[in-house]
Amino acid sequence: MFKLIRYLKPFKKQVILGPIFKLMEAIFELIVPLVMARIIDVGVHSRDVGYVLKMGGLMVLLGVVGLGCALTCQYFAARASQGVGTLLRNDLFAHIGKLSHSQIDSVGTASLITRVTNDVNQLQVAVAMLIRLVVRAPFLVLGAAVMAMLLDLKLSLVFLAAVPLVALTLYLVMSRSTPFYKTIQKKLDKIALITRENLEGVRVIRAFSKQESEMERFDEASGDLAKSAVRVGRISALLNPITYVIMNGAILAILWFGGMRVQSGALMQGQIIAFVNYMTQILLALVVLANLVVIFTKAAASAVRVNEIFAMEPSLTDRGNTQKSPVPGAPKIEFQDVSFSYYGKGQEEALSHVSVSIPEGQTVGIIGGTGSGKSTLVNLIPRFYEATGGKILVDGVDVRDYPFEQLREQIGMVPQRAVLFEGTIASNLRWAKEDAEEAELMRVLDTAQAREFVDKLPEGLDTPVVQGGKNLSGGQKQRLTIARALVGGPKILILDDSASALDFATDAALRRALKQDTKGMTVLMVSQRAATVKGADQIIVLDDGNVAGIGSHQELMDACDVYREICLSQLSAEEAVQ
């Protein structure tokens, strides 16, 4: 948590002045019972109405000044805590942007989002409480105790007995009930899980007529949750009654023993009332203190999670790289004995010793089963991951020597999962080139076989796209992501199994159009479908991270077992030999 303290620096003024103002309010608050005691013991006993009014006015004044101090403090706290949160979020987001893909994978997107939002939130709350309450609550407890001692040391022994008892109760109840909340969360997750399963599997469930047993499963989970919730309730229901009994028990004791003290003349009647008041203040402050402990425990856990992200050094950088010019005569892309492992050098390899040379303007098909390394291979070209062995050259220059900008601007990539962003169809297409003209957008839509359906939309290019592109079908999204990659005319186009949601006719039309419209573009096409790669200039067959064969369809049919097996399983015998 202390590593993050530097974020408080810009808010030094608020962090220091805030608690001071709060302290002033607390001091005024502690004075009030004393003033009241004076009113009774001096004003009432000597029947001095003027004194009563004077002291009453003082109380109101104390209240007004106290309010002013408190408001200032609250304002400082709001400014500082939100400011710290905002700075933290900006830095976190920027830092995450620099991390490599494998680093992001190791944390997980969902977890990153919670860290940027919820965890920073917890820290924000902690900062606010730091300013607002950390000084106030303990001060009130101690202050009230000290004031009581100043009034009468012997009677204040009642406090010394009551305060630890309340603290113990708080500790016992909270330490017993908190573990339950995790269990309850888990049981609630189970409810969500069964509901999701039932919605998504509704066809299967009804096909098998399993509604009854699914309902039983849900009823059980629901009943289980209710039971646990009632059980925790039983424990936490004790908290308020017990503290109430302790506090009022203490007041009872104050009355009895205080009565003795008054009898012997050591105390006055009004001071008894002040004692009762301090007791109430202490109790309230103790409850606040207990909540503070909870808040700071949570914040400490959040700080650890935020720091974990900051501790990750970006593993891929392009620092110090300068613009490179292509080596004349070199192939567009060349893999020289490339190996790669997701877990680091020497670990299980996703690609082993791949060497292949791709001349400019070629269309290359990459085929193989799931987990054979197809996507990994193409992801190495824009340097999403760093090869653990060998090197990859683009235009004869090692990809590690390019600035990211120069390397990536010549690559158009269509990812496996068709993702669009919130905005419009046009704003999505203009991702690579913000100033692309409408004519260019129309042209790429034509190539990507998306023109027809975009034209049919009433708002055409300006059709809004909701987050994740949920208002479009899978096939439509996929065609739009292909169009997006084509804007700006990249030199290298990578299609990572990007036609999977298309039926075979659209898929075929797309390949035909790509062939016609992308002259001079080097195209890499990853696919599971033999028909998709069949017409490529060169086909790379991968099997378990190894190259099983490279060549044209015909050559591979003759020489490569893996390839033949794939083709025969998908195409009829005559199509395969055609």
Binding site: I113, A207, V245, I273, N277, T370, Q528, K534, Q578
Partner: protein, 581 residues
């Protein structure tokens, strides 16, 4: 609207009426005793007048009564909390079960046309909101109101002049409380909206980092993020500031009440109309007088969102059930597999016809392949055959019986269905295979797995048939999941089949196994296949070529090719590329 919601909620509370009454009675007793305590304390103070003037004989019984009041106040508070707890959680359970059962009775249309995330959030979050806001809110509202009324009554009975002073300050408390509650409620709503926007943006950008990087979008993303973040700062500061006003303002109003009571009380005491003990009693009332106002105003905003949530829950409960079965619907057990569709018309949305005049005859054992471009209505046929949706015109018959004359359950049991989006539930591999026949023996399960070519990979899993399938089946590949769902169908041995071929993402070896499993399964069974693979299509007995919801061609592969129509076009477009390449 709220009246309706409350009425229905009361319906759910009915079974726990006893607990509810116990809670209410305890609340009244608790508040009364809590308010009685300051009176007793005040009486006690009056026995302690000064040196040598302490009346211990009078003090002792007062303290005894005080002790009883304290203990019983605590006891009733405890009983009240326990009772509301039970009422809350059991009502929530019942409400959840009611919604879930409803979801199992609604037609598929309702489930298909609602976002699943939204429905889940109604079952989980909204119902939680109802429990937090409504039920606990009500108990707070109730104790709050009794406390205010009780305090006023007690004060009036002691000294009406001072009580009047407190009453005069009441509007101030109300005003302050509602001012803060309203402001902070609006600000919080805005803040959570912006926070949601920010979270969504992070999800988009981080989740799709590869795209962000290929398109060199990093800086633009950072700029946008900082812009949203700055907005979050603005409304965050406001939300936090307004909400943090509650405590200082309460303290201030309390302070004013305290001072007013103190001054007037002291003056009254001087003139002998009030004892010092009564003054101390007034002072402690003054100290806690504004608290219930804050609680109530907090509860009101929470109640509002709870009402909104309850309404969302009841909206689900108000969905229409699937139409009831025909009174004389038969329970079919087996069939030969003769399926006839005559003049079938269907549409998902009124006024947007999808399928019209569809005729089809499937003889026992035939394979019917359904092909066509994306979105032409292939999966709709599955929905109609299984009666997930009811047709609007014409009839569908199995072995000569209209399927509307059969119970849905028995009709569906005639088909074995393997969908493209394989669905497994969280449980073991064995449970998943035995889904349609929970009492299957181990041997039967293994036999089905073997028939589905799934046995070999299952054996290699760490715990074999006892391996737990993760929430989204993440520990199994797409192909393995499909093999499991084939085994699931193999086990129940249905007379007819519905298969939806996967378009992609299955590795070749598994793919070959699936092909073999499919072929074995189709032997002798009437099968409907949504086909993507040419090999499947060419071996079909009937190919249905669909375009824009209607069947435009029907026949065997060669027949259709020689027709030189849409199918031939579709088929040839596949080869034009290959020829060029």
């Amino acid at each position: 609207m709220n009246k309706q919601v409350i009425k229905r909620l009361l319906g759910f509370l009915k079974p726990y009426g006893g607990y509810l009454i116990a809670a209410l009675v305890s609340a009244v007793l608790n508040v009364t005793l809590t308010l009685l305590a300051p009176v007793l304390i005040g009486d006690g103070v009056d026995r302690i007048i000064g040196k040598g003037q302490v009346d211990f004989k009078g003090l002792a019984p007062i303290l005894l009564w005080l002790g009883f009041a304290i203990l019983f106040a605590a006891l009733f508070q405890w009983i009240m909390t326990l009772c509301t707890n039970i009422v809350t959680h059991r009502t929530v359970r019942d409400l959840r079960i009611a919604v879930f059962h409803k979801l199992n009775r609604v037609p598929l249309k309702t489930i298909d046309s609602n976002s699943h995330g939204d429905l889940i959030s109604r079952v989980v979050n909204d119902i939680d909101q109802v429990s937090d806001g409504l039920l606990q809110g009500f108990s707070q509202l109730f104790t709050g109101v009794i406390t205010i009324v009780g305090t006023l009554v007690f004060m009036l009975s002691i000294n009406w002049v001072i009580a009047l002073v407190v009453v005069l300050v009441t509007p101030l408390s109300l005003f302050v409380a509602s001012f803060i509650a309203k402001r902070s409620y609006n600000m919080f709503r805005e803040q959570s909206a912006v926070r949601g926007e920010l979270g969504g943006y992070v999800e988009e950008m981080v989740g799709n980092q590869k795209i962000v990087k290929t398109f060199r979008y990093e800086e633009r993303a950072q700029q946008h993020f900082e812009q949203v973040n700055a907005r979050l700062y603005d409304c965050g500061v406001k939300a936090q500031f307004y909400s943090s006003l509650t405590n200082p303002c309460t303290r201030f109003v309390n302070g004013v009440v305290y001072a007013a009571v103190g001054i007037i009380g002291a003056v009254s005491a001087i003139s002998g109309r009030l004892t010092v003990g009564q003054l101390s009693c007034f002072l402690s009332y003054a100290n806690q007088y504004t608290k219930p106002f804050n609680e109530i105003s907090g509860v009101v905003t929470e109640l509002q969102s709870a009402f909104a949530s309850a309404k969302r829950v009841f909206d689900v409960l108000d969905e229409e059930d699937e139409p009831a079965e025909e009174p004389n619907a038969v329970q079919v057990r087996d069939c030969q597999g003769f399926v006839q569709l005559s003049d079938v018309a269907f549409s998902y949305r009124k006024g947007v016809p999808l399928i019209q005049g569809l005729n089809l005859t499937a003889k026992p054992g035939q394979k019917i392949a359904i092909v066509g471009p994306t979105g032409c209505g292939k999966t709709t046929i599955i929905n109609l055959l299984m009666r997930f949706y009811d047709i609007q015109q014409g009839r569908i018959e199995v072995d000569g019986t209209d399927i509307r004359q059969m119970t849905r359950q028995s009709l569906r049991s005639l088909y074995g269905m393997v969908l493209q989006d394989t669905w497994l539930f969280s449980g073991t591999v064995r449970d998943n295979i035995a889904y349609g026949k929970p009492d299957a023996t181990d041997d039967e399960v293994v036999a089905a797995a073997k028939a589905a070519h799934a046995h070999s990979f299952i054996k290699r899993l760490e715990k074999g048939y006892d391996t737990l399938v993760a929430e989204d089946g993440g520990n199994l590949s797409q192909g393995q999941k499909q093999l499991l769902s084939i085994a699931r169908v193999m086990l129940i041995d249905p007379p007819m089949l519905i298969l939806d071929e996967a378009t992609s993402s299955i590795d070749t070896r598994t793919e070959i196994r699936i092909q073999k499993a499919f072929n074995k399964m189709m032997e002798g069974r009437t099968s409907f296949i949504v086909a993507h693979r040419l090999s499947t299509i060419r071996e079909a007995d009937v190919i249905l070529v669909m375009k824009d919801g209607s069947i435009i061609e029907q026949g065997r592969h060669e027949e259709l090719l020689s027709k030189n129509g849409f199918y031939a076009n579709l088929y040839n477009s596949q080869f034009a590329v290959e020829d060029a390449g």
